[in-house]
Structures are given as C-alpha cells and as structure tokens.
Symmetry: C2
Subunit: 114 residues, 2 copies
DNA sequence: ACAGGATATCGAAAGTTCTTGATCTCTGCC
DNA sequence: GGCAGAGATCAAGAACTTTCGATATCCTGT
C-alpha cells in the first residue's frame, strides 16, 4: 500500500490536456479520479472543504454518511492514498483534513487554470 | 439510459466546495467523476483535448487504446452520457469532440475558479 | 498492568464495471 | 433491392469495489 505525502497529488502526474499520455500517466490520473468517484467520498470532501482547513475527527463521518466504522475507515483510506486528504493522529483519535490545495491541484490535472 | 445534451454538465450539480450536499447532489458528482475514472477514458479525453476542439472519428480510438470496437463504443458512451463529449454522425462514421468547456466545468464542481 | 475506547485491517458476500463475440441497425454504393 | 462497412447494443464472464462482522492494534486513564 502506497503511503501518500501531503504533496503526493502535486507531483503525481501529467495533466490530461497536454502531450499524449503514457499508460502509466493515464493510470495515475485514473487513480485520482477514482478516489473522487463515490458519493460517500464526495460527502467527506464536502465536509472537509466547509471546515475550511480544519481537521475533522474520523468518528464524525460515521453519522454523516450512515455507514459503519470499518466502511468509513475504508473510504478515508482511499482519499488518503490518493493524496487528497491528510491524516493526523491525536491520542486515540484520527483527524482528517483536506490536503493543501488538493482541489486546485486536481483542476491542474484537468488542464484548466488552478 | 439518460441522453446527454451539450450543456448537461453545466447544469448538473452543486459544487463540492459549498453548502452540505444532499444524497442526490453527491450521487450526481459521483457520476461525473466516475466518467473520468478509467485510464482508457482518460486517454480518449487527452486525444480530444489535443485535437483542440476538432472532432475525432470513433474508429481512431481502437488503435489508440488497443481495445475491440464494442469496448471503445462502451467507453465513448460513458463520456457522452456524462456530458463530457459530444457525438456527431457523418455518413456511417461517428465523430466525437470535447463538449464546450467540459474541463473548466468539472473544475467548477471542484470549487476552484473555472 | 489492565480495562475501555477509537481506529485499522482482514475476509467473505454482494454489487458494479469492464471486456468481448455475436448480432443488429444504419448509411452509402452498385 | 442487396451488399459492405461503421458503429451500437446485447449477453455472459472476468475483474474490481463496496460493505460489514470479527479481530487486531494502539492510546489513555486507573
């Protein structure tokens, strides 16, 4: 399993509007969009974006999504591994936040001004 | 199966960075990102974006992707139904092009300036 | 050291998406 | 009309994703 650094997205791949993509570049873009392609993960991001940079406790998402704890943990992992969110452990709680400029960086991949 | 008009994306849904999303809004965003979340479809878009607005014949993608004709047709349909590409039939050939501002509109959904 | 709570990971079942051969439809040409 | 070529659709199998109960790990308070 690939660990993601806060800048993972920034360095991750060539933009879709640009020179012809290799198989690996196309696959890397697929990974980023796949991470966004789920209604529960969209809701998680929506919540983190309205927290305006503040971290949100993993436990808060259980109620927001109406899913069990292992499922919430699974979705948070997908976002973390795509480099879209960061994780910070405080005591036994895990806090998640939007990675720096993640949304602008995804825009960059789409080739529009970020 | 939902038919997509050229403006389908524009009207499709609330941005991810904004007020709390309903289930339907989250699901609509999921549909858009799912359409982008495949390496073959990423390559199709890459090709259409470098054609700079010009339409590309469906048959050209068979070689580009190394997939059989029904599979290419399936991926083009996913993009068409998400409102990301347009289709025009000329004689017995089908030509596909990027929908107007599709990439900028997806950026709009991400909440970054389009 | 132990108990209790929070989160992560595993493994199996259910659901979804992708791929392709076969087939159908439509267009253009003789 | 009848044929050939392009593309769409169908149907079935393979591959992948999502969900959740059970279980493991890690932290805190006593």
């Amino acid at each position: 399993m690939a660990a993601a650094s806060p800048t993972a997205l920034a360095r991750c791949c060539a933009p879709i509007a640009g020179p012809a993509l290799s198989d690996e570049e196309a696959q890397q873009l697929e990974r980023v969009f796949k991470a966004l392609a789920d209604k529960h993960r969209v809701k998680i991001l929506n919540r983190l974006l309205s927290a305006d940079g503040d971290a949100v406790c993993a436990c808060d998402f259980e109620d927001l999504l109406g899913l069990k704890q292992p499922t919430v943990s699974y979705h948070l992992k997908q976002l973390f591994e795509a480099g879209i969110v960061t994780r910070e452990k405080r005591g036994s709680y895990a806090y998640y936040a939007i990675a720096d400029d993640a949304m602008a960086q995804v825009c960059g991949l789409l080739g529009a001004p970020a």
